[in-house]
Symmetry: C2
Subunit: 143 residues, 2 copies
DNA sequence: CTGTATCCGAACAGATACTG
DNA sequence: CAGTATCTGTTCGGATACAG
């Protein structure tokens, strides 16, 4: 019996492919991978380049990427300590996709924003108070 | 002041392109868009096809996609009511990318899972209790 | 410099009850 | 059928404080 080698199906709740999608989709993961596109980067460089990321989120994101085999972490025994991060082959295989994401975002940004204005404008019933509100995309300005 | 049209840069905190990336990256958005790839779908069909999504999340996701101009919502005045969702041109322009995401996830799933096993295996310092834990993808082995 | 540990409010997401 | 309204527990994520 042909081992039912069924393809991973992200539409099934328990399929691991869904978790992979989650990782890719992760806000910071995308930006970290993009930053590593040009070559190795130190922890501090990453923190500096990715505006608004907290130390906690950066570390957390890097650990996750490392765990998934997308980036490597290299510690140089020096004082002060220096840690370099780089994409693995697997990570690089993802690069095209992630670049495409960035590209799509920048080229279609205007359209999306226009659509939002339109949508918010003709809301006869003003913005619902509850569940109807779309995932909050306008984040409260950092105080 | 030249209203110099600088290219959207997702590395800048306030750039809208980051929010677009967030939308794309959203777990359910990806699955909804993929489901609509083959054509219109009714609300119930979406709910049925996307295993594990709650009514609330489905509605919320659809509203968000609609607001961003990626899907249309068509209400048919019938009893019982019938609502069809479909991708817009903008939504379809995203389809290749999203399909690529699914494709990458399914083809590299095994590698990612293997990497995780490896990573979790040789953790000399057992899983940190705090921030170090990657976005929880597997339940921490309860000791 | 490169993290780790905690505290804590905000946002998220599931379950449930109800409606046109 | 296709939602909306609430309630509530969980997770996220920023802000310190501290360490190797």
């Amino acid at each position: 019996m042909e081992s039912k080698q069924m393809r991973p199906d992200p539409f099934q709740r328990n399929c691991g492919s869904r978790q992979v999608i989650d990782r890719i989709g992760d806000r910071w993961s995308v930006l970290v991978v993009l930053t590593l596109a040009d070559g190795d980067r130190r922890y501090g460089e990453l923190a500096e380049h990715i505006d608004g990321i907290s130390q906690k989120m950066l570390t957390q994101t890097l650990r996750g990427l490392e765990r998934d085999g997308l980036v490597t972490r290299t510690v140089h025994a020096s004082v002060p300590p220096r840690v370099d991060y780089a994409l693995t082959d697997l990570g690089r295989s993802l690069l095209d996709l992630v670049s495409g994401l960035e590209s799509w975002a920048t080229t279609h940004l205007a359209e999306v924003q226009a659509a939002r204005v339109r949508y918010d404008a003709d809301l006869p019933h003003r913005a619902p108070t509850g569940t109807a509100r779309p995932t909050r995309l306008t984040r409260p300005a950092r105080r």
